[in-house]
């Protein structure tokens, strides 16, 4: 160019500048092609990531189904409650977050930490419930500070509520959160952290029915986790109703009648096996399990020497004491060892197998037939009968009466108890049976162990003159699953011939006299209701030490039993009472049963 002549020569620097520009141009082209790769070739991948970024699935917990008593009175309900969860993914600074959150919610920082630590294996975006059972007022300060706490999520969800508190708690059972182990063990299942599951009682047996189906909602959230909208919603389906055989009034009366003593009251309909009341004391409030326990509370409950969580009606093992005399009577008559007219003489004590054995009534009952012996619960009569029958015939009779095996109630954890026999002893203890042991078994002591429910079922068998029933708690919805043990079918369908009707009538006559003719069971008497029953008092220590104690003037407390049914013809209710350390069966347990009979009669009239 001509003008270059009058200016200095800049061609070199211009060339260099142009070269740099073409390098920049080449880089620009490379940038554009990389954007092409990301935006066009990898579009799908990033689209998915963006979608996952902005949507979050939240589970809408299904309300559990209601549990109703036989009159459709609600025993387990739901109420709205708020819970606060922590999403670890959103925690920026763990230490600061723990401190701030614990201050905000007013919970101990250490327990908060250990709670989150517990769930360290679950996905970081899974909310971990750290506080629940809150009211709308409780969560207001959290809601108003959402910006500061992106890691917290407040959700409202239906919460189990037991309007009657401790009533029938052992029947209803309690709920607990799924443990991390359970969630980990079944990753394919629709189990979420924080889900409540029935652990005992009906809540457990009918969990499948009661649980319902969780819904879900896909929410659009921003980077702070704030919900900006909703994409799709599937509403939760409430769990099915479960109607129980329990009558809440009888249940309440049963619990009240125990008056705070450890023990059991079982009432059932002998015709169908429907359990009308099942009380076990001490009890617990299942509502307490809904909001989580502090570790201290849980330890206290678990280590309580009176084990309030244990359902004594199906898991408590007791010697039947004089209640067993019913089995002896059935066997004695049924197998022909005695007749109604066979008498024995009670002088207060007798010598059997070289040892002096006493009757509970020191002066002696005098000459007695079977009916008298049942009425007065005379030991001497049954010592004699036991000696005649021998242990294996006693065991056979007990087996026919349903002892030594599960009743088949539709609750898990039922115990079998124990009916000793020579065969059993050889097998279990590797020693032969000594005839002297038979004498203890004859009056319901020794190794004999029964549950109160077995006694109730046995009483129903007597009341029904040999018709065997399976005690159960589900009135409706039971057909769909829920409960029962594998051998309940066997128990119910047991068609072995039991005893002749006349045998039952004879025993029942003794039971009637016990309650109505000044016998040991007179405490259970209800006017015009023909209660038939039998009392029992079981020694909890060896007879020797008991006698030593009594010589020392110390009071010996025995477990106190009563079992009976009413009315004598067409019986409609069986009541079995056990009061631990209650003293004599006649004095303690029989009046408790009397109050149940009384209420039942009243309710029937209405």
């Amino acid at each position: 160019m001509p003008e270059d002549k009058i200016y200095e020569d800049l061609s070199l620097v211009r060339r260099r500048a142009n070269t740099v520009f073409w390098v920049v141009a080449a880089l620009t082209f490379l940038v554009l092609s990389y954007y092409w790769k990301v935006q066009i070739l990898e579009h799908k991948k990033y689209s998915g990531l963006a979608e996952a970024n902005r949507t979050r699935m939240r589970v809408l917990a299904a309300p559990r189904g209601l549990i109703l008593d036989r009159n459709r009175e609600i025993l387990a309900d739901n109420k709205a409650s708020f819970k606060v969860s922590l999403i670890r993914e959103n925690v920026k600074d763990a230490d600061a977050s723990f401190a701030a959150v614990s201050r905000l919610l007013g919970i101990d920082e250490q327990s908060l930490r250990s709670r989150v630590e517990l769930f360290k294996d679950v996905q970081a975006f899974e909310p971990i419930v750290i506080e629940d059972g809150l009211s709308a007022v409780d969560v207001a300060p959290i809601e108003s500070r959402r910006l500061e706490f992106p890691e917290l999520v407040v959700e409202s969800e239906p919460q189990r509520f037991y309007p009657k508190g401790t009533l029938a708690s052992h029947v209803l059972g309690y709920l607990q959160e799924r443990t991390p182990e359970e969630i980990r063990a079944r990753p394919d299942q629709k189990i979420r952290a924080g889900e409540m599951v029935g652990r005992t009682g009906i809540e457990r047996e009918c969990d499948d029915i009661l649980r319902g189906e969780d819904g879900s909602v896909f929410e659009v959230v921003d980077s702070l986790g704030r919900v900006r909208g909703e994409q799709a919603r599937q509403f939760p389906v409430q769990g099915g109703e479960v109607v129980m055989t329990i009558d809440h009034r009888l249940q309440a009366r049963a619990e009240e009648a125990l008056e705070g003593r450890e023990g059991v009251v079982v009432a059932l309909d002998p015709r169908s096996g429907e359990i009308l009341a099942l009380a076990s004391f001490p009890t617990f409030d299942p509502n307490r399990f809904i909001t989580r326990f502090t570790p201290a509370e849980w330890l206290q409950l678990m280590n309580d020497p009176l084990s309030p969580l244990e359902n004594r009606a199906i898991r408590g093992l007791y010697a039947p004491g004089s209640i067993f005399k019913l089995v002896m009577s059935m066997g004695g008559l049924g197998f022909g060892y005695v007749t109604e007219g066979t008498t024995a003489y009670c002088s207060g004590s007798t010598q059997i197998y070289g040892a002096v054995r006493h009757c509970w009534f020191a002066p002696g009952h005098g000459a007695m037939n079977l009916s008298d012996a049942i009425k007065n619960s005379c030991n001497i009569y049954f010592y004699q009968l036991g000696r005649r029958m021998g242990i294996d015939m006693i065991a056979l009779a007990a087996g026919r009466m349903g002892l030594g095996r599960k009743t088949g109630i539709d609750l898990a954890g039922e115990k079998e108890g124990l009916v000793p026999s020579s065969e059993w002893k050889m097998e279990a203890l590797k020693t032969p049976w000594y005839p002297g042991e038979t004498i203890s078994v004859a009056i319901g002591q020794g190794q004999l162990q029964v549950t109160p429910l077995q006694i109730a079922a046995m009483t129903a068998l007597i009341a029904e003159r040999g018709k065997r029933i399976r005690p159960h708690l589900f009135k409706a919805a039971a057909a769909e699953g829920g409960g029962g043990t594998e051998d309940d079918a066997g128990a119910a369908a047991d068609a072995r011939p039991l005893f002749k009707t006349q045998v039952f009538e004879s025993v029942i006559s003794g039971m009637w006299r016990s309650a109505n003719d000044g016998g040991t069971g007179r405490g259970a008497h209800v006017a015009d209701f023909d209660v038939c029953g039998k009392t029992g008092s079981t020694q909890i220590m060896s007879r020797e030490s008991a006698e030593r104690l009594s010589r020392a003037g110390r009071e010996i407390k025995t477990h106190s039993w009563f079992t009976g049914f009413a009315p004598r013809t067409n019986p409609r209710i069986v009541v079995t009472v056990l009061v631990e350390y209650g003293g004599g069966g006649g004095a303690t347990a029989a009046p408790v049963a009397g109050r149940i009979f009384e209420l039942f009669k009243e309710l029937e009239k209405k």
């Binding site: 800049l10 070199l12 620009t28 990301v38 689209s47 993914e89 980077s223």
Partner: protein, 364 residues
Amino acid sequence: MMIDRRLVREIDWVLLGLVLLQSLIGVFFIYSSSHFLPGNFHVRQLAWIGVSLIVLVLVLAIDYKFFVSLSVYFYGLIVAVLAATLVFARFVAGTKSWITLGLMQLQPSELAKIVLILVFARLFAEYKSATLTTQYTLWALLIAGVPLLLIILQPDLGTAMTFLAIIGGAFILAGLKRKTIVLLLLAACVVGIAGWNLGLKDYQKRRVTTLINPTNDPRGSGYQVIQSKIAIGSGGLAGKGFMKGSQSQLRFLPARHTDFIFSVIGEEAGFLGVFVVIVLYFFLLARMFLSVAKARDRAGVYIIFTASLLIAFQFLVNVLMIIGLFPVVGITLPFLSYGGSSLLTSTIACGLVLNVKMRRFANV
């Protein structure tokens, strides 16, 4: 003072038009990415465009040779201001790199780039040898080193890197001997290793390491890159639509209206939007770089080249950074990102190019 009519005719209106177009595109996406925030960033950016245009008129009105002759004073002033802000920052937290001028805030480190362009133009104006001598190299390093050190101390790594780019560009233009290149690279290595171990803060180191593996630290510095890449990739060919990008609207994208404005464009306008902006950039840079042919003197060549390189470097680093090919160093996208200082600096840089270009005839 009045501007000669002939000079006005010589203004490169195409270049100016490209600058304005890019700035307006920027305003749209600033609005899209910040309309849900208080602060009316788009209105403020428009005001800054106005301010920049006024300053541009002043820059064009005065002959660049006059700026070059005054560059020593500018240099002294900017070093003083940088030092003052640094000292001031020790007393008032958070004001480290800002000077408040009434409603507007300026970053002196941004303006320091312009000063460096002018000082280098003056330094190399009389330098006619084909390659750089050691003496000149040391002079240039010393002159650039003082403000650079003050900027590093702020610390503003992005601006410091831009400085290095300008220095490197000037050296290339002056002609580097192989020996010098080796020495400079060695020096860079030594300074780099020393800086890594002594100077860099942990978060800055993490930015470099997350470049290699962003999923290493998905909640920390890798987060920005991951979210930005998701935004760009999910934009696809045509984008999700203006103000409809989930990544930007739901705030998954960090620094949406400033450093990461191009991610918003990628998400909402797709590859087509990216293509348009990059092609516009290509024309703008071509127009700027190739103006060296119109410079009448060596100072003019240096001004055009370093000013163009300033824009080119920031553009490339920004678009590479937001897609994960360069550490996140806090370099804005010239003209498009929100921010007065950045816009003003870029406009002045263009103004200087226009200035040199319109005064290409020696007798004016």
